[in-house]
C-alpha cells in the first residue's frame, strides 16, 4: 500500500519540544502516525502532550520504545549531528526536515548513513506520507488521500500543490515522498522510483523535478530501462534566468547540465508524460491509470 512508511512505522521525533517540532508532532499524531518517543536533551523523563515520553538521547528513546523511524526538526547547526545520532541508534529510516544544513556537513553525513545501511530522506525536505497509514514530516495530511499514485518531488510546497490537485480530482496516492532540494541528500529520485516500481499498489508515478543538477536526467534513464509503470514528470524553473540561485541550493543551473529544457527532453526521450504546469498532472495521470 505504500513505500518507506506505513502503519507499522514507530516514530521518534528529534527536537519534539521546539516550535516546529511540537507543532508538527501534534499534526502527525492527529493524522494517526505512531509517535512513540521524543528527544530533547535535558527533558528526558518528561512527556509531550501528556502521552509521548521524552528522552535525552535517540539511543535511549529507541531502546525504550522500539522506534524504527526518526524525524528531525532541529536547527541547521545541529542537524548533521542529529542525523548521525539517529543513524547510530538502530532506526532504519531517518527523515530530516531541517532546511539550511551546510552541504559540507552532508558530505560527511552521507557516507556515515550509507555505511549503516540506513535510509535518509532529506535534509531540507517535507518528509513523506502514506495516506491513511502514516505521515512523517510536514506534508499537510488533509491534501492527501489513499490511491494508486506514487509521488516523488525535490520540492516541498510544489509537492503539496500537485498532491492537492490530484486529490481534488479524485486521484489518491500510495505514498508521497519529498526528497528535498539540497545538493546532497540521502534519497534520490531513482531510489523512490525503484520503491514505487516494487510496490504492488502503485500504478503510476508523478515526479516533480527542478532545474540544476542531473538527477532528473538519471531518473529518466532509470524510467526508460527499469520501470514498467507509467511516470509523469514536471520541471520547475522553466523561466528561471540562468546562473542565478533560486532559493534551493538545487535550483541553480550549473554548466549546461541542468536546464529545464534538457530535463524535459530527457523525460520525453524516456517516454514519460510531461506536465507543463502542475494542473496538467491530473489529466496525464488519469490517462495512464486507465
Amino acid at each position: 500500500m505504500s513505500v518507506f512508511i506505513n502503519k507499522d512505522t514507530k516514530l521518534v521525533v528529534q527536537g519534539i519540544t521546539g516550535r516546529d517540532g511540537s507543532f508538527h508532532t501534534k499534526q502527525m499524531m492527529e493524522y494517526g502516525t505512531q509517535v512513540v518517543a521524543g528527544v530533547t536533551p535535558g527533558k528526558g523523563g518528561q512527556t509531550f502532550e501528556s502521552t509521548v515520553p521524552i528522552y535525552n538521547t535517540v539511543a535511549d528513546a529507541v531502546s525504550a520504545t522500539g522506534a524504527n523511524t526518526a524525524v528531525i526538526y532541529v536547527p541547521p547547526p545541529f542537524a548533521a549531528d542529529a542525523i548521525m545520532e539517529a543513524a547510530d541508534s538502530g532506526v532504519q529510516l531517518v527523515v530530516c526536515i531541517t532546511e539550511g544544513v551546510p552541504v559540507l556537513d552532508m558530505t560527511k553525513v552521507y557516507p556515515f548513513v550509507k555505511e549503516r545501511g540506513i535510509r535518509l530522506i532529506g535534509p531540507n525536505c517535507p518528509g513523506l506520507i502514506s495516506p491513511g497509514e502514516s505521515k512523517v514530516g510536514i506534508i499537510p495530511g488533509r491534501i492527501c488521500t489513499p490511491g494508486p499514485v506514487g509521488v516523488v518531488s525535490r520540492s516541498g510546497t510544489l509537492t503539496y500543490e500537485i498532491v492537492y490537485q490530484l486529490t481534488r480530482a479524485g486521484i489518491g496516492q500510495t505514498s508521497c515522498v519529498g526528497i528535498g532540494g539540497d545538493p546532497i541528500n540521502g534519497t534520490n529520485f531513482i531510489d523512490c522510483l525503484a520503491a514505487f516500481e516494487a510496490d504492488p499498489h502503485t500504478k503510476a508515478v508523478a515526479m516533480m523535478g527542478e532545474i540544476g543538477g542531473t538527477d532528473e536526467q538519471e531518473a529518466a534513464d532509470f524510467v526508460k530501462h527499469h520501470m514498467t509503470k507509467p511516470v509523469v514528470g514536471f520541471i520547475a524553473g522553466q523561466t528561471a534566468p540562468p546562473g542565478r540561485r533560486m532559493g534551493h541550493a538545487g535550483a541553480i543551473i550549473s554548466g549546461s547540465a541542468g536546464t529545464a529544457a534538457e530535463k524535459i527532453e530527457a523525460f520525453e526521450a524516456a517516454g514519460m508524460g510531461v506536465a507543463k504546469r502542475p494542473l496538467d498532472f491530473v489529466e496525464l495521470i488519469k490517462a495512464r491509470l486507465k
Binding site: P140, S155, M208, Q238
Partner: protein
C-alpha cells in the same frame, strides 16, 4: 556568497598558499603608493563579483607607479557586467612560465568535494571542459579521510613532470583543500597556478564561493560580505531571511518554497504574464517576513500586481495572513493584491483575511491568471 579575489587570497595565504604580495586600493593614489612600495611591476585588478574582468579591461599590467596610477584611475569606477568597480587589488606581477588550473567544487552526483585540475590554466575552465575534456583531471575527495598526500601528488604529477613542481603543487592542493573545508566553500579555485621561470609555484588569482548555510557558524567569513557590490533589494531581502531575485516583469510574486516559487513564475509566464521577481519566504514563517517581502516588492516600481501563492506545510498560512494584514495596514498597497493560500491552518488564515477585508482563493491557476490580468490593467 562570493568572495573578492583579495579576500580569497587572504584566506589562502593563511593556509600557506604562496601568493605574490598584494593589497587593496580604493583610489589611484593608493594604487600608486603600493606600486612604489613593491618597487616592481604590478597588476591592477578590479575587485568585482563578475567573471571576465580581464576581457572587460579590468585587469592591467603596470610597469611603473605612474602607470599604476593611470590604470587604477581607469579601472576604479568602471562598470563590469553592471557592477561598479570600487576597489582594485594591486599585486606584484609574477613572471609567468606556465599557467595551470586548480579548483574544488562540491559535486552533487558524487556527493563529495571534487578537485578539477588542468595544465591548461589561465582561461575559462568551462571552455577547456567543453573543447579538450581530456586535459582536466577530476578527483573526488572522501572527506572522512581528507586529501591524502598520495592523492595530492597524483594531481601534482598530472600538472607537472618535475617532482619538485609536483610536490609544490601537491602541497598547495592540500592547503587549498584545507581552506575550502575550513571556510565552508562550495567552490574554491586558483586560476592560474603559475610556475615562474625560477621554478616557484604561485597562486596568481584566487576565487571562493561560500555556502550561505555556513555563514551563521563562520562569523569571520560572513564578515567578508561586500554588500556594496550587490543589488540593494537582494541584500535587504537576505538580511530579512528571504530569498529574492529581481527580474524584469510586472507581476510581483510572494511564494513559500523555491520549487513552488519557480513553478509560480513559470505559470505566470504560461498565462502570458512576466514575473517581476523570485521571492521565497522560506519554511518556518513569521508575520515579519511577509511585511518585509511586501516592502521589498513594492519598492520595485515596475510591479503592477502582487501575487501571494502560499501552500502551508511548515509555513503556517495564518502567519502569512497576519503578515499581510499588518503590512498593508502600515503601508497601504498601491497595486492590486491576489492571494492564493491553502494548507496548514488555512481556516484560521481565511478568517483573518476575510475579517480584514481581503479575499483569497485556494486555486493556484485561478490566482495566477487573475494576477496576470490585473498587471495588464484588466479586470
Amino acid at each position: 556568497m562570493n568572495l573578492h579575489e583579495y579576500q580569497a587570497k587572504d584566506i589562502l595565504k593563511g593556509f600557506g598558499v604562496p601568493i605574490p604580495p598584494g593589497e587593496v586600493a580604493t583610489t589611484p593614489e593608493q594604487a600608486k603608493a603600493l606600486a612604489e612600495k613593491y618597487g616592481t611591476a604590478v597588476m591592477v585588478k578590479a575587485q568585482v563579483h563578475a567573471g571576465g574582468r580581464g576581457k572587460a579591461g579590468g585587469v592591467k599590467f603596470c610597469k611603473t607607479p605612474a602607470d599604476a596610477f593611470e590604470k587604477a584611475t581607469a579601472i576604479l569606477g568602471m562598470q563590469i557586467k553592471g557592477l561598479t568597480v570600487e576597489k582594485v587589488l594591486v599585486t606584484v606581477a609574477a613572471d609567468i612560465g606556465s599557467e595551470a588550473y586548480v579548483g574544488i567544487i562540491v559535486d552533487r552526483a558524487r556527493k563529495k568535494p571534487v578537485f578539477m585540475v588542468s595544465a591548461a590554466g589561465g582561461i575559462d575552465i568551462e571552455q577547456v571542459a567543453a573543447e579538450t575534456p581530456e586535459k582536466i583531471k577530476y578527483h573526488p575527495v572522501d572527506v572522512r579521510y581528507g586529501l591524502q598526500t598520495y592523492e595530492a601528488m597524483q594531481l601534482g604529477f598530472f600538472l607537472y613532470q618535475d617532482v619538485k613542481l609536483a610536490r609544490a603543487a601537491a602541497k598547495i592542493m592540500q592547503q587549498l583543500y584545507a581552506a575550502f573545508m575550513a571556510s565552508g566553500c562550495s567552490l574554491a579555485e586558483i586560476n592560474p597556478l603559475v610556475v615562474t621561470p625560477t621554478g616557484e609555484v604561485l597562486a596568481v588569482d584566487g576565487k571562493m564561493v561560500i555556502d550561505d548555510n555556513e555563514l551563521d557558524r563562520k562569523p569571520a567569513v560572513a564578515a567578508l560580505r561586500d554588500e556594496s557590490s550587490e543589488e540593494p533589494s537582494e541584500v535587504d531581502a537576505r538580511n530579512n531571511n528571504l530569498t529574492f531575485i529581481k527580474l524584469d516583469g510586472d507581476v510581483g510574486c510572494v511564494v513559500n518554497g523555491a520549487g513552488l516559487a519557480m513553478a509560480t513564475m513559470d505559470l505566470v509566464k504560461y498565462y502570458g504574464g512576466e514575473p517581476a521577481n523570485f521571492l521565497d519566504i522560506g519554511g518556518s514563517s513569521n508575520p515579519e517576513k511577509v511585511v518585509n517581502a511586501l516592502r521589498i516588492i513594492t519598492a520595485d516600481t515596475n510591479v503592477k500586481a502582487i501575487l501571494f501563492n502560499i501552500f502551508g506545510g511548515i509555513t503556517r498560512t495564518d502567519d502569512v495572513a497576519n503578515g499581510i494584514v499588518t503590512a498593508t495596514k502600515a503601508n497601504p498597497l498601491k497595486v492590486p493584491l491576489v492571494i492564493r493560500l491553502t494548507g496548514t491552518n488555512e481556516e484560521i488564515a481565511m478568517k483573518i483575511l476575510t475579517e480584514n477585508g481581503f479575499s483569497a482563493s485556494s486555486d493556484m491557476d485561478e490566482a495566477v491568471q487573475k494576477a496576470v490580468a490585473l498587471a495588464k490593467g484588466g479586470k
